[in-house]
Amino acid sequence: MLPFIVRRLLISIVVLLVSTFGVFVLQANSGNPLATLTTRQPPPPPSTINALRDQLHLNVPIPLRYFYWLGGVLHGDLGKNINGIPVKSQIFARLGTTIELVLVAMIVALILAVLTGVISAVKQYSVLDYSTTFVGFVLISIPTFWMAGLLKDVAIRINQSAGSTIFSFSGQSTPDYNGGFFGNLSDRASHLILPTITLALISYASWSRYQRASMLDVLNSDYMRLARAKGVPWRKVLVRHGLRTALIPLTTVVAIGFGAIIGGAVVTETVFDWHGMGEYLIEAARTIDTNEMLAWLLFSATAVVVFNLIADILYAVLDPRIRLG
């Protein structure tokens, strides 16, 4: 397995280089980052503009600019954004925020998807099966940003009728709040719950369908039948032979869905005022801040690549027929 991992890592590095370069080129061509500066009233002195131009290497051809950036990265320097603030200082805090959101949402979605997928498959054609399938369809037809808005609206109404703030919908936690360990925890939880549900619900719906299909495949298999013919009771057969085998394809599905979750997080953070990577990206795109954008991409692409690698390894561990050479 080791040669496989090494090979994949090397390929991943190339992928990262190519994608960051590609985005770099696109960014560089999509507008003038100095525009916001030059149109300010009153306009800053030319020396300031020139200094910024030099700092952003705007006088130099695009590929060279990219190498300046790359060189900086290898020294641990992610450059400065348009306003001169080092990107590194901003991005890690935001990274933590988004990781919290994405991780919790994925775990929730995964557990729900496995439960409903398996139960739907076992009780195929029942009322439960049809209704969860229908609900699933509706959920994947709802845009993430609207779902976020909906939950926010409902939460406000619940808060109003209950007379207290059960759900918080702005930010990650109440600023300047200190209620001790449990107080802080419940505060964070009340802030976490709505964005998590938003992100989780939509991933859950599509994963649940895959899990159901995978489980159905397994339920009709010959080895399930043989296990029963051996005298193993149904429940045990279901878990030991059914679930164990049906979970394997889910690793691939989740790995593929990871990218979609990141995209969903971008929108969710906007609605709930979470100062995470999503908000950062939008701001970077708006101001055509190349360093911010590239830093974002670096982390996001790395996460995707690492995730896929873990998923592939996990698949090989779970399925002995796949041995990575």
Partner: protein
């Protein structure tokens, strides 16, 4: 003596006693299965009605979606079916316009995405070798960036009109489509009829376009419907965060953006555009599910 049915014709006649079904062509069977899927049928009807309404009704409306009337921030009424916003726009007209945008963008995006995806996937899956490696590595690179992000970055390069958005979305979604087409071609090229065609002297091109492509239509059609649904969601998300359709034109995403913070006081601004998206996307998804059932009859449905 005997009236013995021993000739082949007699045997055939006897066997037909039990079979009262007539032979059907392949597409007839597909159609028959699709129509049996009630939800898909209902969705098809609803989808056609909604789309038709979106394009036809505005022709008969006195004022278009850009007209700013006097009624400001009024709730749903007989004059303004979905109410108005703070500048006097009629929300109903805006929603209809938004549906038009969604439909135009998603259909064009689907066509662009499918065509590019099929070409890339077919070449990669059929020829394999270094063409496959190069193409799939490129696809991998594209796939490491989330769809929304890629579209976001690309949208800065173009204007805010609907067809450039469609081109971008289509180009990006060509990546997962090419993956799908490639795997279908990979499995099909091993089939015996490919060998048979080669033995008869068919060229690569002929095999690809006359044999493999028609047989991969099933998964491709299903992928196309999913692409439509996805494109609608992507376009509206992009418009929601401000990088998509630009004012004065209107998209369901921009409408929701306007309404999201007013959902408490003026819910009609938020809920009507949202419901519009959901209905359109949901019907497309059900149609896709019906098509999937119709094109892949390997699942046996036993009455409960």
């Amino acid at each position: 003596m005997t009236t013995v049915p021993t000739t082949p014709q007699d045997v055939q006649a006897g066997a037909e006693r039990e079979f009262t079904v007539a032979a059907r062509s392949q597409w007839q069977m597909v159609a028959r299965r699709f129509f049996a899927h009630k939800l898909a049928m209902v969705s098809l009807v609803v989808f056609i009605l909604v789309v038709a309404a979106a394009f036809i009704i505005p022709l008969f409306m006195k004022h278009g979606y850009q007209y700013q009337g006097e009624d400001l921030s009024v709730g749903p009424s007989s004059k303004h079916l979905f109410g108005t916003d703070s500048i006097g726009h009629d929300v109903f007209a805006e929603v209809l316009r938004g549906i038009q945008t969604s439909v135009k963008v998603s259909l064009l995006a689907m066509i662009v995405g499918e065509v590019i995806g099929i070409i890339i996937g077919a070449v990669a899956g059929f020829y394999r070798g270094w063409a496959d490696s190069v193409l799939m590595r490129a696809v991998d690179v594209v796939l490491t960036v989330p769809v929304l992000v890629l579209v976001l970055v690309l949208s800065r390069l173009t204007g805010g009109n609907w067809w450039s958005m469609a081109l971008i979305i289509g180009g990006v979604t060509a990546a997962p489509t090419s993956r799908l087409v490639r795997s279908v071609f990979l499995s099909l090229r091993e089939r015996e009829y490919v060998e048979a065609a080669r033995a008869l002297g068919a060229t690569d091109n002929r095999i690809m376009w006359r044999h493999l492509l028609p047989n991969s239509l099933g998964p491709i059609i299903v992928d196309a419907t999913l692409a439509v649904a996805g494109a609608i969601l992507t376009e509206s998300a992009l418009s929601f965060i401000g990088f998509g359709i630009q004012p004065p034109d209107v998209s369901l995403g921009t409408l929701i953006n306007d309404g999201v913070n007013a959902s408490q006081t003026r819910p009609w601004l938020f809920y009507f555009p949202g419901l519009a998206i959901i209905i359109v996307v949901l019907t497309v998804n059900f149609i896709g599910d019906g098509l999937r059932d119709a094109l892949d009859p390997t699942q046996q449905r036993v009455r409960a």
